[in-house]
């Protein structure tokens, strides 16, 4: 049982001063490098009639932008860079686990909490910018200010969003990874390839989709 946990959980590789560098951080750097190189080569020679990788970049941005516009309307255009980056980063991280020696960075709760906290901060910022500082503070006391239990409920709901958003991605990815690791132990050939279609590819794509759709929904909610 312990070697299953060791294969899924983050392992410390080396230390940078006081900061431990785990293998999931190195996997995050790999994902960042892939996305950065793709963005560089896709936009190096921009043309009106796209050629090569510019086609793929435009397709991705159009699909994600279409989803964003369907949910938030034209005001959602501001959030396109954030949402598209979240979508590409999470989906690519989830799919990285297919390659046997590599690990998904999303198997580490620290990555998921970081992403969830980023969405949480953006929600607070867009709430302030949409309602003003007074409206933002007043939103903690909705629907009526003189019943103090509503303040507790509002704060708990806000923190609950953050926790459920990041734990959903973590739980789904780590659960799939543990089941795959156990199957690899008792049936190392043939069987894992079939199950990998579900646990790695399908579940990874669906969870990435759900993660950025929920981010859009939370931001939309916070704008009131």
């Amino acid at each position: 049982m312990n070697d299953v946990a060791a294969g899924v959980a983050a392992q410390e590789v080396f230390r940078l001063g006081i900061f431990p560098i785990t293998d999931t951080i190195i996997m995050t750097w790999i994902v960042m490098a892939i996305l950065g190189l793709f963005a560089y080569f896709a936009t190096r020679r921009l043309a009106d009639v796209p050629a090569g990788s510019q086609n793929y970049a435009e397709l991705l941005i159009e699909v994600i932008g279409g989803l964003l516009k369907d949910m938030m309307g034209p005001q959602g255009r501001v959030y396109l860079p954030l949402i598209a980056t979240l979508c590409l980063f999470v989906i690519l991280s989830n799919l990285l686990g297919i390659i046997p020696t590599l690990k998904s960075p999303t198997n580490d709760l620290n990555t998921d909490l970081g992403l969830g906290f980023m969405v949480f901060l953006v929600c607070q910022g867009s709430s302030i910018s949409a309602r003003g500082l007074g409206g933002y503070l007043k939103s903690f006391f909705d629907p009526v200010w003189y019943v103090p239990i509503f303040f507790v409920l509002n704060v708990a709901g806000m923190l609950g969003n953050l926790i459920s958003h990041s734990f959903r991605l973590f739980g789904n990815m780590v659960g799939g990874a543990i089941i795959m690791a156990i199957i690899f132990q008792f049936a190392p050939v043939m069987v894992p390839s079939v199950l990998s279609l579900y646990y790695d590819i399908f579940s990874g794509l669906i969870q990435g989709f759900i993660f950025f759709m929920l981010a859009i929904a939370y931001i939309m909610n916070s704008r009131g």
Partner: protein, 90 residues
């Protein structure tokens, strides 16, 4: 306590953790299963009524499934902690 030495105590805690993890996952999966089945059934109904709005229905269904799934994910996290990172065994 109760005349049990330390080794027996640790073994008892391990047994209780494994049984607890099994119960946690089994009972915790009932609610999300009911909820997701209900959402899926309703989505099928509205899909049969309005086949032209398939994209919107499937998207909303996935979002509602994800929200209904949270409690199941919480029990999964608790079960994983009990099995792999048990805080009661030093």
């Amino acid at each position: 306590m109760f005349g049990i030495d330390a080794d027996t105590g640790v073994i008892l805690i391990k047994i209780a953790s494994v049984v607890g993890a099994g119960f946690c996952m089994g009972v915790g999966a009932i609610g999300p299963a009911l909820g997701e089945g209900y959402v899926g059934g309703k989505a099928m109904e509205s899909l049969a009524r309005q086949p032209e709005s398939e994209g919107t229905i499937i998207r909303s269904m996935l979002l509602a499934d994800a929200v209904a799934e949270s409690t199941g994910i919480y029990s999964l996290v608790v079960a994983i902690i009990l099995l792999f990172a048990n805080p009661f065994v030093g």
